[in-house]
């Protein structure tokens, strides 16, 4: 059953275009999606996912499992960095360990979106409040990461080691991608309540184009991930192992919590994917600014070069099987 789910996932356009990008790098094709075109798709996807999440949140209301689920998600984004840090410190210094830990506590919006598309092709329903959980998992992980830096750093840092917490919180909460996602969520929520006609007019943009745009963007992500994979090889076996086993561990943890929350299989898969995915947008940007001592090729390459492809290709169907076993045996 696992392998059939893997195959069903593999042979959809988003995943196939991701492969096309990976292979382009491997065979050294000069296929390139020049900047800032990837940014267009990335902004679009955040806007659309936020807007759609807001609509659904308006329709479903903020009740039942909404608040507990969001709280659990935020909890995971605080807990995962701590566990990850403990593991990473076995081999890495405090700066690098903290930066990678923050990365894994946070989420990958594109992995989440790909999981939603997977659920749609499986005709499994899922809810808009999961987008709110997504949006709220970026910032806490950054803050925990920086606290870990502060605790772990014996080394001299500028400003005599005093963190500029204003700058840090700003980076964590007002990072462009977090801001756009949360803003679009609110806009979807408000529009749905007040102007159904205008929502109707948004849908061809936010809804109909979504799947194709995701596929196009994943073509670029495939190119970028494959370029990063080479870096990762240089980073060594420990980090390669971490990039695969940590997500799996977090996925199992996530599945158990999803069962505790009583989530349906769709929402449960999304919850697991949030736990198992790692950030390659907001967190690396924040770490680059606030922890320049850490090597970006470590935290970007683990999250983007291996964990991301792993999740996109085999992770999502695997987690689905996990959810089917652990959470919703009847689903």
């Amino acid at each position: 059953m696992d392998t059939s789910l893997v195959l069903q996932n593999l042979l959809t356009p988003p995943v196939l275009f991701f492969f096309l990008g990976v292979i382009a790098v491997l065979v050294r094709s000069d296929l390139e999606i020049p900047a800032p075109l990837p940014k267009l798709f990335s902004l679009y996807l955040l806007l659309a996912i936020g807007f759609k999440g807001g609509l659904e949140l308006q329709h479903s209301g903020i009740s039942g499992p909404v608040l507990p689920t969001i709280a659990a998600a935020v909890g995971m984004s605080l807990a995962v960095p701590l566990v990850s840090f403990a593991v990473l410190r076995l081999k890495l210094d405090g700066f690098n360990a903290a930066a990678i830990a923050a990365t894994y506590g946070s989420i990958s919006a594109v992995t989440f979106i790909t999981a939603e598309s997977f659920l749609d092709t499986q005709k499994l329903p899922h809810d808009g409040f999961m987008v709110a959980a997504l949006a709220l998992m970026e910032s806490p992980a950054i803050i925990v990461g920086l606290l870990l830096v502060k605790l772990a750093s014996t080394q001299q840092r500028p400003d005599n080691g005093r963190m500029r917490w204003g700058a840090v919180l700003h980076e964590a909460m007002l990072n462009g991608s977090v801001y756009l996602l949360v803003g679009s969520l609110l806009i979807g929520y408000l529009s749905a309540a007040n102007s159904p006609l205008s929502v109707e007019k948004m849908l061809p943009f936010t809804d109909k184009l979504f799947y194709g745009s995701l596929s196009f963007f994943l073509l670029d992500m495939g190119i970028v991930a494959a370029q990063r994979l080479a870096d990762l090889r240089r980073a060594g076996a420990f980090l390669i192992g971490f990039s695969v086993f940590m997500p799996l561990f977090n996925a199992v943890l996530g599945a158990l919590i999803a069962r505790g929350l009583g989530l349906g299989p769709g929402n449960a898969l999304l919850f697991v994917v949030l736990c198992a995915s790692a950030s390659y947008i907001a967190v690396p940007a924040a770490m680059r600014m606030t922890v320049p001592e850490a090597n970006p090729s470590y935290y970007i390459s683990t999250a983007l070069g291996l964990t991301f492809p792993f999740n996109i290709i085999v992770g999502i169907p695997l987690y689905m099987a996990l959810v089917n076993k652990l959470v919703a045996p009847a689903g």
Binding site: P34, A35, P158, S177, D220, V224, A285, R288, M289, P292
Partner: protein, 93 residues
């Protein structure tokens, strides 16, 4: 007069420009989307969608005394974040 060429990460650009203004420079010019390689490794535009940023190339034409003040403001940033700064001679056309 002097010409200063700075190559730094786009992420540090605001701090660098603030330092240039603070040094009393008559102006500056910025080119973004610059890539390259240095002691800290390669910088490309591949992660452009992530806000990670490529490099920026900043040019300042100024009097030698401004340069002295620039040195003080910019050296610490280069020391902590990386980047290069070179000075040459230049005369107004």
């Amino acid at each position: 007069m002097k010409r200063l060429d700075l190559i730094i990460s786009e992420r540090e650009l605001d701090a660098v420009l603030k330092a240039i203004d603070a040094a009393g420079s008559p102006g500056y010019t910025v080119m973004k989307h610059v890539t390259g390689k240095g002691p800290h490794g390669s910088v490309s535009e591949a992660m452009d969608f992530s806000g990670l940023g490529a490099n920026a190339h900043v040019i300042v034409f100024c009097q030698p005394e401004v340069l002295d003040r620039l040195r003080q403001g910019i050296q610490p940033l280069l020391g902590y974040y990386g980047g290069v700064a070179y000075v040459s001679d230049a005369e107004p056309l």
